[in-house]
Amino acid sequence: MSGSALAFDRVTVRYGARVALRDVTMRAEPGEVLALAGPNGSGKSTLLRASIGLEGPDSGTIAVGESTLSGLSLRARARQVAWMPQEEPVGDNLPVPEYVRYGRYPHSARFVPPSAADDAVVLEALRLSGADELGDRLVWELSGGERQRVRFARVLAQQAPIVLLDEPTAHLDIGHQLDLLGRVRSIARDHRAAVVIALHDLNLAARFADRIVVLHRGRVAADGPPRAVLSPQLLSDVWGIASELRYDATSRLPYLIPRVVSVSAPAASGGPPRTRVHVMAGGGSGTEILRRLVDADYSVSAGALPLFDSDSAVAEELRIPTAVEVPFAPISEATRAQVRAFLAESAAIVVGAFPVGPANLANLEELAAWDRPEAILLLAQPGPAPWDFTGGRAAEIRAGLLRRGAVEARSLHELLTNLASRFGR
């Protein structure tokens, strides 16, 4: 067998007709924290249950250390693998140390009373789980966070080289989450345990796990270190959400920022061609406009926008073709050509209420050169606040556009209504 603590080799688990795990191959190594990620129903809990023999594989093999799981007695399994389910009955109202001592059961002999060595293990488990202050309490009197630590202590008292934790941070506040996961890390490091932990929170997984295995519909969709695994593409493929990947400046760990909007389907093939609308915005003035237009099923383009501008981030997330420019630099000739190309394809142009300076004045100049000023919809600039940082040039162009038939809307709602009336939506 391998030197891995836990090894799945082409494991398939079925619940009746439903396949919960499909051909899963993965391993967990001693000293490593392995995070299991995946949407609800992707097979995380099933994988953990199969690892302690609560679900038998329909095909494939599960190896624990040097043995196959199915070849071990229940007690021998319990000495190798400890499991903390997401939910379990509270059980009787026991003193905390007696409850934690249940973890010693697989090590106990029938006619031998619990030894001082067992007591020492229980105390150590309470200390490692941060529950040493709870030694004189009863389990029914514990808060959610305290109970979680005491359950964790019970699992540690098993002294198993493989520790499986199913959503241990559910119902915990952020402080308790970080505390628990920090303790999980030190268990792996100091005791050379292989810890497999099902986690919903990918950012916690990226922060605490050495490796992430992503399950999707019972299959392994990705397996590797957090930096290699986490990507907006993966989140979109597996969870169906749009996200943005960033790196923490100090730890260099990746973290994902999910976007709350729904991803519009990529240009649907078939059906009537959608009306093309170009958006000029910047500095966040376009965020809402872009989303509402996408939601209203317009085909949208945007720009020119500075790279890293919040509007360009939204445009990217919504997969809107966008002309981008390096931040704080004047719009280059190449970018202007791209904007011109977008404008040529557009049936209408929506202009947000954004500040105009020398860097982005070129946008307005392209607008002024467009041949259908009556199809330009401008959002009213809010009051007399300074938005024109070009010494009057921007205001002049804007006034010119309005004179030549462009429409000014006082609200986004009014603007969208106007747009809808033109294109029969």
């Binding site: 609560l54 229940l74 319990a78 059980g91 009787d92 026991l94 059961y105 007591d119 105390l123 030694g135």
Partner: protein, 369 residues
């Protein structure tokens, strides 16, 4: 912040509990012994109490002590007294102790594996099934010669039917108290219907069949007791050996299995053992309700929830409850011995109602997830 020296945290709690549990055990043993001795004074016949106690001492010591137990009474009278005390009252009491213990451990074991505080051999229909098996021996006049042997066997087979049904109900019903209890109610009703038919089918056997309906200890003999006592002792030992696994099962079958116990095998074994021991009690004492329900609850109140203590102590408390019920059955109506199942049902059912309503007014029941 409190700082205990490391080793005292678990020791303090466990040690104090251990001491108080030991003194509770001692107290219960002393109380039960006293209760049995004093109960020899109770019966429809009125005997002088010093003579009764002296007879007990005389017989127990094998004739070495209390040489003239009856005092100034005639030898013929003394022989009758000795027969009443030593061959009638004392075997009855011994059966009360044994059957009470049998029902007590059955209740504790069933409540443990079904994680349901209302489980009990009577409410689950095990007793009715065993009674049906036993009474069919009389109804169909089976094996008149080997009756002493065949009776407990039939009681066991009769108890196995509801035992099997309950086992599967408990598995598929996911331990829902309603499913289990309603199954018991149904099994009880079916057994009662068949027993009622037996009464009509063979009027000659009526008296015997009636006996099983509400239980009684008056037909106890030394040889009957000799059959039941070893069964109860062995069953008690088997259940105590499984007690730690019953404790683990309170965390749910999955967690119990992850800790190295086999919850399905455990449930099978406990249902089998409680069926055997209930059948042994029912074969000679008839259906006695509620002892198995009451005893474990009283014990949990006294020493906590650890089944390693709850099971053996339920034997003692069940025995005490049945002895008291037997005393009441003999004195409540002058010169008539009423079936012992009447006082146990009367007081046990009141306790049952108390449990039901206390449970519903508390948020955390024992079987709750």
């Amino acid at each position: 912040m409190r700082r205990d020296p490391p080793n005292t945290v678990s020791r303090a709690g466990g040690g104090a509990r251990g001491r108080s549990a030991r003194s509770v055990v001692g107290l219960i043993v002393v109380a039960l012994t006293l209760l049995v001795v004093l109960s020899t004074l109770v019966g429809p016949e009125s005997l002088p109490w010093p003579a009764t106690l002296a007879i007990l001492l005389h017989e127990m010591s094998g004739g070495h002590l209390a040489g003239m137990p009856c005092g100034s009474a005639s030898a013929a009278e003394c022989r009758i007294w000795i027969e009443i005390v030593w061959d009638a009252r004392f075997p009855d009491l011994l059966l009360a102790v044994t059957a009470g213990a049998a029902l007590g451990i059955s209740g504790a074991g069933l409540q443990g594996v079904f994680r349901n505080p209302l489980a009990d051999p009577y409410l689950l229909g095990l007793s009715a099934g065993a009674a049906l098996g036993a009474s069919s021996v009389y109804t169909f006049d089976l094996a008149p010669a080997g009756r002493a042997f065949i009776l407990p066997v039939f009681a066991f087979v009769g108890g196995l039917v509801p035992g099997t049904v309950i086992y599967f109900a408990a598995r598929s019903g996911r331990n829902s108290p309603q499913t289990l209890l309603l199954t018991g109610v149904a099994l009880n009703a079916i057994a009662a219907a068949v027993l009622a038919t037996f009464l009509l089918y063979n009027p000659v056997a009526n008296l015997s069949v009636n006996f099983w309906l509400l239980g009684g200890l008056e037909y106890a003999t030394w040889s009957n007791d000799g059959l039941v006592i070893p069964v109860v002792l062995v069953a008690g030992l088997l259940l105590v050996l499984r007690a730690q696994e019953v404790n683990l099962l309170q965390l749910g079958p999955d967690v119990a299995q992850s800790l190295g116990s086999d919850p399905r095998r455990l449930t099978r074994q406990v249902v089998l053992v409680t069926t055997v021991v209930t059948a042994a009690a029912v074969a000679f004492a008839g259906i006695i309700g509620f002892v198995g329900l009451v005893a474990p609850h009283v014990v949990r109140r006294l020493v906590g929830v650890d089944y390693r203590r709850v099971i053996p102590l339920s034997a003692l408390v069940g025995a005490g409850f049945l002895v008291v019920a037997w005393d009441i059955a003999q004195v409540v109506i002058r010169s008539v011995v009423i079936p012992v199942g009447i006082p146990t049902a009367f007081f046990g059912a009141m306790f049952f109602l108390y449990l039901l309503y206390r449970r519903s007014s508390r948020s955390r029941g024992v079987g709750a997830p």
